[in-house]
Amino acid sequence: MWERISEIIRKELIQSLREPRMRFMLFLPPLIQLLIFGFAVNLDLEHSKIAWMDLDNTPASRNLGAAFASSRYFEVVALPDHEEQVQNLMDHSRVQAVIRVLPGFARDIERGKTAGVQVLIDGTNSNTASLVSNYANLVVVGYAAQVQAEQQSQQLLTRSPTAPVGGSVAQVNARSRVWFNPDLRSRNYFIPGVVANIIMTVTLMLTALGIVREKEIGTMEQLMVTPIRPIELIIGKMIPFALMGLVDLVLVTVAAIVVFHIPFRGSALLLLACSMLFLMTSLGAGLFISTVSHTQQQAMMSSFFFTMPAFMLSGFTFPIRNMPPAIKAIAYVNPVYYFMEIVRGIFLKGAGLQAVWPQMIFLAVFGVAILTLSAWRFQKRLD
């Protein structure tokens, strides 16, 4: 039996690696995916382009303008002075927000009224928009605190010029400490997720298309007339794909560390062990898809219907916390979600076995279940 299995493994490896073009197709796409994801998925906001419209034009309003200009979150790129210009800037998406100071701004501050600053935000991208409104608010509140402090010390001075003033102002500061990802780089969060995703898509597609291809071009018949038994065929087909998946894993992990400087705080061995558990799921799903598809086109479409939800509901970029309860329930039986947790835990938090064993058990149970189901279906269809 092992002899026959190793024959199939040899055949598969030769078939996959024979052509230089195919070799290239096995290992290049994961790397390109990593690069595109790594560079493109960046939800951080810095130097957001804004327009500054000062209708008051007083020292007070100019100070506020300086506060915006010196903030690292904003870059003032336009100084419109008409309504049409504002409309034009927003319609062409040249700026993300327009800060408008209305006439009477300095007067209101002096009279002790609340002076309004209009923050006009392009809400098209709601994520960027909420970050922008958040930061704009922080700048305005910071400025307000400064104005208030100045006003009060001035008032105190005029009342009792001899009284000591400085140092007696109560104030609360927020000192923030960020764990695991101190610079809040979104890359550190996303790239380990990409690693999980690449392993899934590569092995699942290879398995599904690889098996259906034999059916489609008729070589499955030839294999069937040999003394090879279905279970041997399955094992022999899967081991090469699993190996390629693991090679891709190492490749992508090394690239993540070298190219993107993602901290790798946990154990490489544990990552490898967890990946093997996860491979059972992705290979099993690939095999399952091959049993329900007659053509590669069908296999491709079916894989898409599996990988897309698995990917989107894994917490990769969109936090599961925000999803409606029904969708959340689906996410919690999604093996990719558990693998994503493990990979991120190992990379960023240095999680060990005692932290990830519940996820590992889930992956093992899910993997064995789907592999058994698919192998059974595969066998039944061949008989």
Partner: protein, 379 residues
């Protein structure tokens, strides 16, 4: 070019599509799946941030600050542990995102008019959520500090209390006033859906003929490459148009995304984009000997860029300059600008003419390339 022969190819391809109802159903279900996934499940909005507050001070002053956190809908306070370790543990176990620590000398320092620090501990793994959450928490503390300051100092100086802050920001959001994720995800999604249908599905068509050996048969007929390309394209164009209708209908009727601009312009630009993607799929297909290879190339060169570099979810402005430059080569980028412009901003050709022109140019260039590549392969 002969219209009769082109029509024959289209008929053959249509029959091929119709004979495989499973693939067709799936092709038509793609927009439904994507819209459901993105429209229902995806939200980057941050609220109800799970929070623990450790109050080491336990005075009326510290409770006043806690009240501020409790009053905000952004935070969901899960408990008040009495030690620091509990917060560390909860962050480690992913139970909370934010920990607020009020130090033991907090009220003493405030009463003696000094600066008091409040520590915010945050799990930064998900940096997007973390920075939004941090912004909210800092806002709460800052506003509270401002309030405290005016109260305290007015009492000291015997001044009339100032009831409101001296400067306040008045937020006004244009185009998507309630900042709903679906309004910006759904229009952009149409580009991704058309890309999947146009390029990924189509990339298999000619590769399949090569792989199965039926290309030889086609070659023995008087069919010319231009006719083959146009004929195959026409069949998948029909599938694309049906998908487009499903996407627009679903987006507007089910998800209530506002369509503020011209419907006609939307259809016109979508067709231009669809031509480009279909020709690109055929171009890839002509050069691939196996379907697996064609599929891999299509995913890499069309789906991935349309998904990642089009600005559909991930803002292009946040990418490094090199990647931003690359994104100018991605047709989906222009189409996403058009889609968001028509849907949300309600702008017309006067704003979008450059993007439209690009889509037309792209389709024409790729058509020529695809025909030429097929010609080379055949001879």
């Amino acid at each position: 070019m002969n219209l009769r022969r082109t029509g024959a190819v289209t008929r053959k391809e249509m029959r091929h599509i119709l004979r495989d109802p499973r693939s067709l159903t799936m092709a038509l279900a793609v927009p439904v799946l994507m819209l459901l996934l993105f429209g229902l499940a995806l939200s980057l909005d941050v609220d109800h941030i799970p929070t623990l507050i450790y109050d080491a001070d336990r005075t009326a002053t510290s409770r006043a600050l806690i009240e501020q956190f409790r009053g905000s809908s952004y935070f969901q306070i899960l408990g008040y542990p009495d030690n620091y370790k509990a917060i560390e543990n909860a962050i480690d176990r992913n139970q909370i995102l934010l920990g607020v620590v009020i130090p033991p000398d907090y009220s003493r320092r405030i009463e003696s008019g000094k600066e008091a620090d409040v520590q915010l501990l945050i799990d930064g793994s998900d940096s997007n959520t973390a920075s939004i959450a941090l912004g909210y928490a800092q806002g709460v503390v800052q506003l509270y500090s401002l309030d405290l300051r005016s109260q305290g100092q007015n009492r000291k100086g015997g001044l009339a209390a100032r009831k409101s802050p001296p400067v306040d920001s008045l937020l006004r959001v244009w185009y998507n006033s309630r900042l709903e994720s679906k309004n910006y995800v759904v229009p952009g999604l149409i580009a991704v859906i058309l890309m999947i249908i146009g390029s990924v599905l189509t990339s298999l068509t000619i590769a399949r003929e090569w792989e199965m050996g039926t290309m030889e048969q086609l070659l023995s007929t008087p069919l010319r490459p231009t006719e083959l390309v146009l004929g195959k394209m026409a069949a998948y164009f029909v599938v694309g148009i049906v998908d487009l209708s499903i996407s627009i209908g679903c987006g507007v009727l089910v998800f209530q995304v506002p369509l503020r601009g011209s419907f006609l312009l939307l259809v016109f630009t979508s067709c231009l984009f669809l031509f480009g993607t279909l020709f690109w799929g055929i171009y890839l297909s002509a050069g691939s000997k196996t379907q697996l290879e064609a599929y891999q190339m299509a995913m890499l060169s069309s789906f991935l860029p349309a998904f990642m570099l089009s600005g559909f979810v991930y803002a292009i402005e946040s990418m490094p300059p090199v990647i931003q430059a690359v994104s100018y080569l991605v047709p989906a980028r222009y189409f996403v600008v058009i889609l968001k412009g028509i849907f949300l901003k309600g702008v017309g050709l006067d704003v979008l003419w450059l993007e439209t022109l690009f889509l037309a140019g792209y389709a024409a260039v790729i058509f020529v390339l695809a025909t030429r590549r097929l010609k080379q392969k055949i001879t």
